[in-house]
């Protein structure tokens, strides 16, 4: 009974994969991590994540080998204050993309190795999804100065 059930799920997965290919089609682009001040302990990572498939998915975790801990957060502004709220998953509706960007959704890395987070370096990030297989991407380490020059005019 139990086996049958899981087979059915597997079959559905295969069908979904064959027809709309959601599992393989999550696209992570523009991944980057903020360079860490000397001796810094935390930093944030960002990316654009697109789901061109017809089935919804979600990011359920993002990890970086340079950090011992990672947590997804949203920067929220309320009552004249800005702060971070933990986020357990980031929904990826079908044919939608989500931007993890400064002042919004991001992954916070704790206990980082600042030596790996020098401007210009690349570090691997692994994105974990609810349905699609994990995806490993190279993220560029960017200095805040560079970031400000790109985002502000």
């Amino acid at each position: 009974m139990r086996i049958k059930h899981s087979m059915r799920i597997g079959l559905m997965g295969l069908l979904a994969f064959g027809t709309c290919g959601y599992a393989a089609e999550i696209i992570v682009t523009d991944a980057w991590v903020r360079a860490v001040p000397l001796g810094g302990r935390v930093t944030a990572g960002f990316a654009t994540v697109s789901n061109p498939g017809s089935v919804g998915d979600a990011i359920i975790g993002i990890e970086g080998e340079f950090a011992k801990q990672a947590a997804m957060h949203n920067t929220v502004r309320a009552n004249g204050m800005a702060g971070m709220e933990p986020v357990s998953k980031i929904d990826l509706a079908s044919r939608q993309s989500v931007r993890l960007e400064p002042g919004g959704l991001h992954v916070m890395f704790r206990h980082v190795d600042p030596g790996e987070l020098l401007p210009g370096a690349t570090v691997p990030l692994t994105f974990h999804f609810q349905h699609a297989p994990p995806q490993r991407v190279e993220a560029v380490v960017r200095s805040i100065t560079e970031e400000l020059n790109t985002h502000h005019h």
Binding site: G40, V42, M72, A78, M81, P86, F109, I144, E147, L148
Partner: protein, 219 residues
């Protein structure tokens, strides 16, 4: 009459220094700010009064903040760099909301990444809270439990840490410690620059008048 003459002089000074036409003096924002003493990242106690020949940019934050605080610090640095020779007439004070983690020594190393002259302020929780109260700032401290633990590689680290929500004002203070303008993380750098230059021109900060007899000159 004397007042008018002074205004005129200030006006000329402003035109020369800032090459823009400021409408009028920045207002004094009563009830916001005041003198305080805290543990400086310099390794010595620091009082606001120590900067009576400078304009001061003061704001609150904490170094375990990955998103907003480093951007604020960098934008303030961009502002400082845009001031040219006037950069030396402005002191940046970063008051930590997380004194347990941000010791004076730690702040010293961290802030050097942004600017060699920034001073961080730490102290006891009570000392920090009294500065927060003086400046009518607000913050909330929350314990966060890891939500993505299954992707953490090292379980030996504590699963709990503190995150702070806090008000985002950047306070522009004159040499007497009066609050003269409030900026925010997102305030355009040109706008902040204009405010700082206007204050510097008005107070003639670092110039002869002020450093000779700052208190008398303003009254």
């Amino acid at each position: 009459m004397k007042q008018l003459g002074k205004k005129l002089l200030l006006g000329i000074g402003l035109l020369m220094t800032a090459s823009m036409s400021p409408a009028e003096e920045l207002p004094i924002l009563e009830g916001i700010g005041g003198n305080f003493t805290a543990q400086g990242s310099t390794g010595t106690p620091v009082s606001l009064k120590d900067f009576e020949n400078k304009a001061v940019l003061l704001f609150f934050g904490y170094t375990n903040c990955p998103d907003v605080c480093p951007v604020t610090l960098s934008r303030v640095t961009a502002l400082m760099r845009s001031l040219g020779v006037a950069e030396k007439q402005v002191q940046v004070l970063f008051v930590t909301l997380d004194p347990e983690a941000d010791t004076p020594a730690y702040l010293n190393g961290y802030l050097k990444h942004f600017h060699p002259d920034y001073i961080g302020l730490s102290g006891t929780r009570d000392e920090i809270d009294s500065i927060v109260d003086l400046f009518k700032a607000r913050y909330e401290r929350k314990v966060e439990r890891q939500v993505t633990t299954r992707f953490n590689r090292y379980k030996s680290h504590s699963d709990e840490f503190y995150v702070y929500s806090h008000s985002q004002q950047i306070y522009l203070l004159d040499p007497q410690g009066n609050t003269r303008a409030l900026f925010y993380t997102g305030t355009p750098i040109d706008e902040m620059r204009e405010g700082v230059l206007q204050l510097l021109a008005e107070a003639d900060v670092g110039g002869n008048r002020l450093s000779v007899s700052p208190a008398i000159d303003r009254r």
